[in-house]
């Protein structure tokens, strides 16, 4: 499941603890809701089904390319374009070239992991509908939010609100679809 932009609006409930939120998520999943999202100051248990991240594969590929490129640069510079004969040592010196190759691999892979995260998480994102909610700034401090997508096939406004209220949240907020 991808991060939601709530283009159809959402019903959101605020809780005071991680336990209440995970219990709420579990209850809603069991009822058949599929488009749920949590907002929390700490990472929660994988209570929501998520697709396996493809980032590791991307990191592996970019790392491999980085390593090959590093080796190629060295081969090109020292063995092909400008070979220097120093004491009869081979121009194509594999053991020596392996060290920058390793560094190039790690560098490329790390950049891929870093940039890849921001691309996948769709950050930077200076504005998001949830930022409009009064008091949502505590979602990074000590409040735990559950959001139900209004476009969820299981969602029926009155029933959903009733079900959310039954969880006795601190607050219920309806997020209007952005105009």
């Amino acid at each position: 499941m991808r991060d939601r932009t709530w283009s159809a609006g959402a019903y959101m409930a605020e809780f005071g603890s991680a336990r209440e939120l995970t219990d709420a998520v579990r209850a809603f999943s069991e009822r058949g809701y599929t488009r749920l999202e949590t907002y929390s100051p700490v990472p929660l248990d994988s209570v929501l089904p998520r697709r396996r991240s493809r980032l590791p594969v991307a990191v592996f590929i970019v790392g491999a390319i980085g390593g090959l490129l590093s080796y190629w640069i060295q081969w090109y510079a020292n063995a092909y374009a400008y070979p220097l004969d120093i004491g009869g040592r081979p121009a194509h010196a594999i053991p020596a070239f392996l060290i920058p190759t390793f560094e190039g691999t790690v560098l490329a892979a790390s950049l891929a992991a870093f940039i890849g995260f921001f691309v996948i998480a769709r950050l930077p994102q200076p504005w998001h509908p949830v930022f409009e909610i009064e008091g949502f700034d505590r979602a990074t401090i000590d409040r735990y939010w559950l959001a139900v997508d209004a476009a969820d096939p299981h969602c029926a406004p009155d029933r959903t609100i009733r079900e959310l209220r039954a969880l006795s949240p601190l607050r219920l907020v309806q997020l209007e679809p952005p105009r």
């Binding site: 991060d3 939601r4 700490v42 560094e103």
Partner: protein
């Protein structure tokens, strides 16, 4: 039933008898405690800042003087061409290692106590690397040609010689710096969002908001964040081992007695982590006191770091013994002379013996359980280790160079005032950067500390009590 992603902390957490977190602070109180230095500054901070700024000015002055006049202003000579510059370089790089060790190595080993000290350690790494990078650049003599070290297509068609250890250094150090910075920043994103949401005033909210990239803490973000963070940790871990190994190759692929040794890579890595842990304590103990972080940085952390330092100190002592034994066992007269005469009895014998005493004896304090959590003992021992490790780099470089094979080429090395000025100035720059870090960046990983708190609430004993 656990509310968090990773397994609950077990007895595996360092400090079997001390909790990694204490007190009944709420999430909001933890956040405000850590963020407090961001919103107001004390007089002590300004005093330290002024001292560091003076040090930085000294650095600026001595560096400018060096660049304008040339490295003839240093005490370097032939054969002692490396001297202070490379001593400082190796020492500062070594300091950096503990940061990555704590943040990456211990993350992969699921040592949860790292959570409250990794931020300081990572910041230390980055600032130490900034200092380290300065020295080889200046040592080039013509630092404005530093870009020649980078393989770029030039009309001159002259390339770096990758069979030399020096381009390896460039590759290793730039990679290490970049990866450390990325890792640090990625770890900061959720905390910058906390700072954004707690910031008083519009401007600060804007600035922290900019750096927080719009982090909301959604389940999706957290999940992907963890994948990226663990990947980066996995990538940074081999760097801890490799960077100082590569630095040690600068020495060990040379023929010089005292350098030409296969023990160098592990020996350098151990020494690096050793001195880095000492620097972590030198920074952490005052921060803990100044910001009142006793509930977050507990005896468990001090105990764990002290134990690690003791282990590293013993490994280093082993390296000293083996290195000396092998020089005798090799039956090579030059090796034997360097290790058995030049170092213990030569012109730098005082430095050699102080180094041996400080590096081998200081950590022995930490066999005592009481001293492992005693701030004063830890601080003094750490200073001793830092001085000892600097001297070790000096001994390796200067004593090997100043008496090499031919007696006729021997030459004594005496540092000039510029050498001392740059060394002292580099402390100023380090302090300046670290103080700015304390002032503008959350110095403890807030979300990780909150995780620890929630885990503590969800331990089996608490579960049964609730039921």
């Amino acid at each position: 039933m656990s509310a968090v992603a990773r397994p609950a902390p077990s007895a595996a957490i360092a400090g079997d008898e001390w909790p990694v977190m204490r007190g009944q602070s709420s999430d909001a109180e933890i956040t405000d405690l850590v963020l407090a230095p961001l919103w107001r500054t004390g007089r002590v901070w300004w005093m330290l800042f002024a001292i560091s700024a003076l040090g930085t000015l000294l650095l600026l002055f001595t560096v400018t003087y060096t660049v304008l006049v040339g490295i003839g202003t240093w005490g370097n000579n032939i054969p002692v061409a490396w001297a202070f510059a490379i001593t400082n370089f190796v020492w500062w790089i070594g300091i950096g290692h503990a940061g990555t060790f704590i943040s990456a190595f211990l993350l992969l080993l699921n040592q949860r106590w790292r959570g409250s000290i990794n931020r300081v350690a990572e910041a230390m790494t980055i600032f130490a690397l900034v200092n380290a990078a300065l020295f080889p650049l200046l040592h080039l003599g013509r630092p404005w040609f530093a870009y020649w070290l980078i393989p770029y297509p030039a009309t001159m068609n002259v390339w770096p010689n990758f069979k030399s250890a020096l381009p390896w250094d460039v590759a290793a150090v730039t990679t290490y710096f970049t990866v450390s910075l990325l890792f640090w920043y990625l770890g900061l994103v959720p905390d910058l969002a906390s700072a954004r949401d707690r910031a008083p005033g519009r401007l600060r909210r804007r600035v922290y908001g900019l750096f927080a990239m719009g982090w909301r803490g959604s389940g999706f973000e957290w999940k992907r964040y963890h994948v990226a963070y663990v990947l980066l940790a996995g990538l940074a871990t081999p760097l801890v081992i490799s960077v100082h190994s590569v630095v040690s190759l600068d020495f060990s692929i040379a023929q010089l007695p005292g350098w030409h040794s296969t023990i160098f890579p592990p020996y350098f890595v151990v020494g690096a982590i050793y001195s880095g842990l000492a620097m972590v304590l030198v920074l952490l103990l005052p921060v803990r006191r100044a910001f009142g972080l006793y509930d977050i940085i507990t005896e468990a952390h001090l105990n764990a770091i002290a134990k690690l330092m003791l282990a590293m100190g013993l490994m280093l002592a082993y390296s000293y013994v083996i290195e000396t034994f092998i020089s005798w066992y090799s039956a090579d007269p030059f090796e034997r002379y360097t290790y058995l005469a030049a170092r213990p009895l030569g012109p730098y014998a005082v430095v050699y013996w102080i180094m041996t005493a400080l590096n081998i004896l200081s950590p022995q304090l930490f066999w005592s359980r009481r001293l492992r959590t005693n701030g004063t003992a830890l601080f003094l021992a750490s200073i001793g280790i830092l001085v000892g490790m600097w001297m070790e780099r000096f001994v390796i470089i200067v004593t090997s160079l100043n008496r090499d094979f031919l007696t006729s080429s021997w030459h004594i090395y005496i540092p000039s005032w510029v050498d001392w000025g740059i060394l002292a100035g580099s402390f100023g720059l380090f302090g300046l950067l670290f103080l700015l870090f304390l002032r503008f960046v959350p110095s403890v990983a807030i979300s990780e500390v909150k995780e620890l708190r929630i885990e503590r609430e969800n331990t089996p004993e608490q579960e049964t009590r609730r039921a």
